[in-house]
């Protein structure tokens, strides 16, 4: 490997009550793809925010050397000028704007005082070619899928003449095709002289793409591994990340067969929407103590399906019968669904799951305040107690339950979201992409927890775009494609190929 393009020396960053980075040393060679892995809350995002000037010089200790020069960024504009671009864990495009407006947002091409739109569109086209994306630059971003949006983010970075590209969990919300696409783009960029740092919890992906891997744990560098010397493999990464070995990430459980139906949708549920039906002719059931996987591509309608049984907050017309424990139910609001024993852990924890400006305990108790309240008055002590229980059980990394959820790392936020719905103590738990952004160790813990819950008679509907997860955890799999259920497979018959075939049919 060549000379380092970046060296970060003895970086220490503290937040009130948390030492997020403790003397971290991190070095990236020119023209490599360097992956950064580690448990939730290990400090990966923080390290990258230090690098890109989100946390300006003076708010951390240590030195940053970029291309051999000491850097002292006062803000993100400075690091961009130096040739560093960061793409955050959550996308930062403006949905109502066009592709070309987004790409040149903040560094518009001007002629005199005015923006030169013709030149902008031409250049945007050029950038889109570079990322191999064939969309109309005049299309609005909100009309494009997440995969394409991710590529536009990269196009935006490239338009700034980036030398070092940082991607924080870029594939967390992408399906397999889009992920592959993105990874191969990173490889191309490498050959064109763009160095990349990528954070990811998907170890397979890390192994396939990384030249070098650095592992962080508890704010410290554990090791840096060279993929070309064969130092990188899944068990090795897990061991360094978690500090112990995990043999089977999908823990075993006895597949108990119960015939008692906990939830059933019959007579073909349909959601009518002005632009055409979202769901057509959907019927399925979930038995007591069963984990039912819902596989399919992103955007196939699984989230809409879940919401339509969970009190239908989107307000579209839903036709069809819903039975819970054999009783017919009609929910007008999520409130009623919760009362009937349902819980829904959303796939979009930031926008729909959590209140980021409130603390951990308030978030955990929100959906079931009546349990810790008497005559409308909340018992603050009971609340702390409950929250601490879930903090311990789910191993949520936070200095206290009074920490604002917005200050937690992505994966720990996900755990809070999960804890919130477990506290509702539902009969049927709907999990929508439950392990998105969660590290391997925590995944294992969550799977173990799920097993415990179904053992106690809870039923779980698990919507997941990760096939290994669906195959590893479900008792039965439904495959959804374009708003229809295209197949039902008992776990013994389910294979990756069969599911993919049904999902694209």
């Amino acid at each position: 490997m060549g000379t380092p393009i970046l060296e970060m020396k003895s970086i220490t960053k503290t937040f009130p009550g948390v030492k997020a980075l403790d003397n971290v040393t991190f070095s990236v060679a020119t023209d490599e793809i360097h992956c950064l892995v580690g448990e939730n809350g290990a400090g990966k995002s923080t390290l990258m925010k230090v690098l890109s000037g989100v946390y300006p010089h003076g708010t951390y200790e240590g030195d940053i050397l970029f291309e051999g020069q000491v850097q002292q960024y006062r803000g993100i504009a400075d690091s961009e000028k130096a040739g560093i671009a960061i793409i955050y864990q959550e996308l930062a495009l403006i949905p109502e704007m066009t592709v070309y407006e987004n790409i040149f947002l903040g560094h518009e091409i001007k002629r005199g005082f005015l923006v030169d739109w013709n030149e902008t569109i031409r250049r945007a086209d050029e950038m889109l070619k570079k990322v191999k994306l064939s969309v109309n630059p005049a299309a609005k971003v909100k009309d494009l899928g997440v995969g394409k949006q991710q590529l536009i983010e990269i196009a935006k970075a490239l338009s700034k003449n980036v030398k070092l590209l940082i991607l924080d969990e870029p594939t967390a919300a992408l399906n397999e095709d889009d992920s592959d696409n993105l990874l191969s783009l990173l490889r191309d960029l490498k050959h064109q002289g763009v160095t990349s740092i990528m954070i990811s919890h998907k170890l397979k992906e890390v192994i396939s793409i990384a030249d070098t891997v650095t592992v962080l744990r508890d704010g410290q560098t554990v090791c840096t591994l060279d993929a070309h010397k064969g130092e990188v493999s899944e068990p090795v990464l897990i061991k360094y990340m978690v500090g112990r070995e995990i043999e089977n990430i999908y823990p075993k459980r006895d597949h108990k067969r119960s015939d008692e139906v906990a939830l059933e949708v019959r007579t073909g549920m349909r959601i009518a929407r002005p632009l055409g039906d979202v769901l057509k002719d959907v019927s399925f059931n979930v038995k007591k103590g069963e984990i039912v996987g819902f596989a399919g591509l992103m955007g196939s309608g699984r989230t809409e399906l879940a919401l339509s049984i969970f009190g239908n907050p989107t307000g579209f017309q839903v036709h069809g019968d819903l039975l819970i424990n054999g009783e017919e139910k009609h929910f007008a609001r999520p409130e009623q669904a919760i009362d009937a024993g349902l819980a829904y852990v959303t796939e979009d924890r930031k926008a729909k799951g959590l209140i980021l400006i409130q603390d951990v305990k308030e978030n955990i108790t929100l959906a079931n305040l009546q349990e810790i309240a008497r005559r409308g008055v909340v018992d603050g002590n009971a609340e702390v107690k409950v929250a601490n229980e879930y903090r311990v059980n789910l191993n949520i990394k936070t200095p206290s339950v009074e920490q604002k959820v917005g200050n937690l790392s992505g994966g720990n936020q996900q755990k809070v979201s999960l804890g919130k719905w477990l506290f509702v103590k539902p009969d049927v738990l709907i999990l929508d992409e439950p392990t998105r952004g969660i590290d391997v160790g925590a995944k294992f813990e969550i799977y173990t927890l799920m097993n415990g819950l179904v053992q106690q008679g809870m039923s779980i509907i698990m919507i997941s775009s990760e096939l290994p997860e669906v195959l590893g955890m479900s008792d039965r799999v439904y495959v959804v494609s374009a708003g229809r259920i295209t197949g039902e497979l008992p776990i013994e018959e389910a294979t990756q190929e069969k599911i993919m075939h049904l999902a694209t049919s």
């Binding site: 009550g17 919760i338 799951g353 308030e362 929100l366 305040l369 601490n388 206290s400 009074e402």
Partner: protein, 403 residues
């Protein structure tokens, strides 16, 4: 206030100063605004040669802040849920003219010799008008989904018209015996001291009970020294206040009413499901909806509550000026909004405290009365208020960024 009952954290800096520092950092905003208030008082004390701190002036200052404060503590809830209410000033004004109208034209004829009965009836009618208006606006906002900005802007116009209709452009007296006590009454000094004693006992009782509960739950207790220090501090504040106002005429009835209302509202905000839901809705509406919160119902109730408080403000206003006039309540909604925001309520929703709004209101009133004492023209009073508002919010933003 924030309960620090964490069982799992490492012991950081211990000792009284350490804990005080921690408490300071977590309530930075509240303390900043209190510091600003103290600075303003010192400023005026120097310029007026101490005159503004004389018992009479202090007493009047607190009495003057009551009307907008009633509006401000309701406004906190409205803004916290991501709404706004532009009609409250005029609603208070309307209530005041209605109350005056009944006194001057109706009770006078119906029950001529029973001023106290008349006063009670006036109060009931005033509250009723406030609540009714709150119900109507709340219904449109929550169930018909018309934005609160529009509904209350329209409400403001309508109320302006209604005030003109009721008053016919004239001033209506509202100064029957009994009714004037609401805003102009004072408690005898001894009663003031008894109230102070009761408050102090409650403060200490509260402290011990809270510690007891925490011990029962097996939580780590906050240091007794810190708890004692805070409780003693608040007790001294109450005692000092009573001591000062007793040197003039005694504890002011409207201030006592405001204190009671503020304590109730603060309790609702911090300790009830209703309050929690308000903050949740403002913090993330979509998450609140999916958590099973009935958003419409919550917002409906909040506007009714706001109406009730505007009703109270209107009654106090009528009693305070002794008249119902066409200009009644003019601009009060803006003072109320400014007070809430000065006190740390976020215009983005989800954040704000009743206590902060009271301090905000006190700052606004202090500026007005202080500048008046200095014989500064009204034009400059507005300029100063505007500048202080922007500066305060800027300081807050800057503080947050640097943390």
């Amino acid at each position: 206030m924030a309960v620090s009952t964490d069982t799992g954290s490492k012991k950081s800096s211990t000792g009284l100063m350490g804990e005080l520092g921690k408490r300071f950092r977590s309530n930075m905003q509240t303390y900043t605004i209190i510091l600003a208030l103290v600075a303003i008082w010192i400023f005026f004390a120097i310029l007026t040669g101490g005159a503004c701190l004389q018992p009479q002036n202090v007493s009047n200052l607190f009495r003057q802040m009551t009307v907008t404060s009633f509006l401000a503590i309701g406004m906190v809830f409205v803004i916290v849920t991501g709404n706004i209410d532009l009609s409250v000033g005029k609603l208070a004004g309307f209530v005041s003219v209605v109350v005056a109208y009944f006194q001057a034209n109706i009770w006078y004829n119906l029950i001529p010799n029973q001023p106290y009965v008349a006063a009670v009836l006036s109060i009931i009618i005033g509250l009723g008008v406030g609540v009714l208006f709150g119900v109507m606006q709340g219904y449109m906002i929550s169930f018909l989904q018309v934005p609160s900005f529009i509904v209350t802007l329209a409400g403001m116009f309508i109320l302006t018209g209604l005030i003109l209709l009721v008053t016919q452009g004239k001033t209506i007296p509202a100064n029957q015996a009994g009714f004037d006590l609401i805003a102009q009454g004072y408690l005898p000094p001894l009663v003031g001291w008894i109230i102070a004693a009761i408050v102090v006992v409650i403060l200490f009782w509260n402290m011990t009970r809270s510690r007891q509960r925490k011990r029962q739950h097996g939580f780590e207790l906050p240091s007794i020294a810190l708890d004692l220090a805070t409780t003693i501090f608040y007790s001294l504040l109450v005692i000092a206040y009573v001591w000062v106002v007793n040197q003039y005429k005694g504890v002011q009835v409207p201030v006592l009413l405001l204190a009671v209302a503020a304590v109730i509202m603060s309790y609702i905000a911090n300790n009830t499901r209703f309050g929690r839901y308000a903050y949740a809705i403002g913090g993330n509406r979509e998450a609140a909806r999916l958590s099973g919160i009935n958003i419409r119902r919550s917002i409906f109730l909040i506007f009714i509550l706001m109406g009730l408080l505007a009703g109270i403000a209107g009654i106090v206003l009528a009693s305070y000026v002794g008249y119902g006039t066409i200009a009644a309540g003019q601009g009060y909604e803006l003072d109320a909004i400014a007070s809430a925001i000065l006190g740390g309520t976020s215009t983005l929703g989800g954040v704000g405290t009743v206590f902060g709004a009271l301090i905000g209101s006190l700052i606004m009133t202090s500026l007005t009365t202080g500048l008046q004492m200095l014989n500064v023209q009204p034009a400059w009073q507005y300029l100063v208020k505007g500048i202080v508002l922007v500066l305060a919010v800027y300081a807050d933003v800057a503080f947050k960024k640097n943390r």
